[in-house]
Amino acid sequence: MNAPVYNFAYLDEQTKRMIRRAILKAVAIPGYQVPFASREMPMPYGWGTGGVQVTASILGPDDVLKVIDQGSDDTTNAVSIRNFFIKTAGVRTTTSTGEATVIQTRHRIPEAALGEHQILVFQVPIPEPLRFLEPRETETRRMHALADYGLMHVKLYEDIARHGHIATTYAYPVKVDSRYVMDPSPTPKFDNPKMSNCAALQLFGAGREKRVYAIPPHTGVESLDFEDHPFERYRLDGTCAFCGANDSFLDEVITDDRGGRMFVCSDTDYCETRRSQSGAAETMAEASVPR
């Protein structure tokens, strides 16, 4: 048997070039979903194959990579993808948001503002924001071409009519550069405002659905809303039990089966940075709150 030999960052150079061409097109047409010939990756579809292909095709030997899932560097899938790039590309990795040049993420945007030297790569399960209103791709592509987004506004309006407010908490649709309606990937809508006028390039990869799309640096991104029902950010009303942050997105952690809960920062690097700055790392609060 011939032992397989893998290229730098796993993908062969032809494939990387093909993906980079798709990325260039995506950057040129902000928010537009560019089809690309997604490859079989050594991890399952739905586990970040799109993000991994985008990262693999833009990664250079000097890059410093950070991988997060749910905001955290130590969640299992983040560990797995980081190890994949350590193994196949040998690049330096970090958990520090500021130090990274490429950040691959699933479901969150870091709390710290990103800079021009950085690229944020999102893993996207369903790139089509209209998919749950119209399952057929032939239809949704026509709707995008005609900027026919009436169906989406009707959906948001029906939410308001039924519940008094827009009942979408994650994957909240946005309009990019006043043209394409785009799915921000299933990030909580708390993160939506961070996408607008961001200094970093934002790339979105969907492997199973074979699409990439992009938000170039300093591009306007608005969350869809109505004049009388403006977009609202949402975060749990609480403070982080570790660092005391009252502005970060929080995870709810169940501490027992009698109703005990505590809240901690979802962005672990943000939390650790705050703790080391305040020297409070040693005094982790026991914030279990039995009801």
């Binding site: 990756m41 050594p42 299992t76 190890n83 399952p135 027992d256 901690v264 979802s266």
Partner: protein
Amino acid sequence: MYVAAKGGEKAIENAHRLLAHERRGDPSVPELSLEQIMGQLRLAVDRVMCEGSLYDRELAALAIKQACGDLIEAIFLLRAFRATLLRFGASEPLDTGEMAVRRRISAAFKDLPGGQVLGPTFDYTHRLLDPTLQGAGASEPECAEPIGAMPRVTDILAAEGLIEPSPRTRPDDRVGDLTQDPLNFPADRDLRLQNLARGDEGFLLALGYSTQRGYGRTHPFAGEIRLGEVEVEFVPQELGFSVPLGEITVTECQMINQFRGSATEPPRFTRGYGLAFGHSERKSMAMALVDRALRARELGEEVKAPAQDEEFVLSHADNVQATGFVEHLKLPHHVDFQAELGLLRRLRSEFEQERAGASSLQEAAE
């Protein structure tokens, strides 16, 4: 020649001898033992037990060997044997809350009582072919013990009323059994779940996947997946109290799905449920997605996608039925086919006559 007016018996006999020959393969290579299949192809054994709906590792291994590794054929063998078994009653409901857990994960919470326990899983392995597995290798020492019982995520959510309660079991309610009574529509959830538990993994996987892609969307979260051993208990009529029959391995998946409430009900999460023999995670997850999709009618949702259509799903989930009927097209059909041929020839000659008539009319007109 395929002109087999007589001699069918001899042909069948020869075909079966050939099959036995091919099953054995190269006689210089040692024959597979049932222990090897049970021990090293255990996920295949689990699938055959689950869809064969008979919990017997040894018989499932035998079926896999006899079927040359064709799992649907093995499931068929096991089902055919199961049908001959005497049925002496129904067990008590399994208490998966008391499971001796070997794997338990929740995608809905970062951490929870009992923790996230990965256990034996392909998750997070990189799918790179491992050449070290080609030859005989050293075995990995056992590194994990069952952890014991831990609270179920859905019970934690239920304590706050955030998820619909599981339907209460009424002791005098007989649990339906579609192997004893023909399936009628609309079917209750017990029969639906039984049908899905026996249903083809690939079919349920595709249907569950379709709900994720917008054909009957249910907004699922994997509330909890747990794998481990549970005790099966049975109440013999003459005793009047339950006695343990033994332990089985099961995989349970509880999906938590969105539901926004109605005029009479406060908003809360709904459930999709999957349970499978052995370590069958893909199966139990797909089953939970399809179970929730099939509850559309009960929850007042519009039924418009295939996965929500009870008759469509339940009538086609069984791979023994499906493979039988698809493959029956191999049987001789020449009597019907001859009748079709005769009709087709007649229709064609009538068509030709009409065309000839029409063109001569046209010539006449010109």
